[in-house]
């Protein structure tokens, strides 16, 4: 009896899983219509002082000098059927938003997106935080420090 009930449950779960992962011909299924960047995820966030041609940072560091340009390289995986929004928000230790930049991406596999910030009169010493958002949801943070 228990075995039969267990088997029936497994069958029901399997059917539910198959049905939920399949797409439909004409129905508008709100549960599976996440086309905007639905297949994209942030896999890595690096920061450094310079970028390579493939938009990776040349040397990861979280320590910067006041006159450095700070680069963030964000690795994403997956394919986007519609453009996904990648946003980088930099904040200072007192909570001030230093900069916020957004890029639309429609990757078809692994991709790198870079954001960079600079300040002509030099960065105030202190701690900064980079937060990366994918389609409005936080996808990771990175702490950096500017030292005199």
């Amino acid at each position: 009896m228990h075995t039969r009930l267990f088997g029936t449950s497994i069958l029901a779960l399997t059917l539910a899983s198959v049905l939920s992962s399949a797409c439909t011909k004409s129905g508008e299924n709100p549960g599976t219509t996440g086309t905007t960047g639905a297949g994209v995820r942030v896999s890595q966030i690096d920061v450094g002082r310079s970028l390579a041609a493939d938009k990776t940072v040349n040397a990861n560091t979280n320590s910067f000098k006041p006159n450095d340009t700070i680069y963030a390289s964000i690795a994403t995986e997956g394919t986007a059927a519609a453009p996904a929004t990648l946003k980088a928000r930099w904040t200072y230790q007192d909570g001030q938003v230093v900069d916020e930049s957004t890029q639309m991406i429609a990757p078809t596999g692994n991709a790198r997106t870079e954001f960079h910030i600079s300040k002509p009169d030099g960065w105030p010493a202190g701690k900064y935080k980079l937060e990366v958002f994918l389609n409005g949801s936080s996808a990771g943070t990175k702490d950096v420090e500017v030292e005199r």
Binding site: T24, K25, G39, T79, P107, K119
Partner: protein, 95 residues
């Protein structure tokens, strides 16, 4: 002067000014979805979660009712036009 009128001897803390920060960015990914390839006079399309034949037809031809053209070109892959799966590579004839 009352004690409540007394001002602090400390100078007011000045907040750093970030109004002149310059920023930019770029990506190896395109800003718009790209076709995945070309086969004959059409091309291929990789199904993603949430897709349906009519949605793909709407996107590729501007007419959702042309889903049957995609279905006919992919009968070897699609057993039931109501069921397509993420990752399937579909031929989109004449797109």
């Amino acid at each position: 002067m009352g004690i409540f009128d007394r001002k602090s001897d400390k100078p007011p803390e000045s907040r750093p000014d970030f109004s002149n920060v310059r920023s930019g960015g770029s990506s190896t990914a395109p800003a718009e979805p790209q076709p995945t390839g070309t086969i004959g006079s059409g091309r291929t399309y990789v199904v993603v979660k949430g897709d349906s034949l009519s949605k793909i037809a709407k996107r590729e031809y501007g007419d959702a009712n042309k889903w049957r053209a995609i279905y006919e070109a992919n009968k070897d892959l699609i057993k039931d036009p109501d069921l397509i799966y993420p990752g399937q590579e579909l031929k989109v004839p004449g797109a």
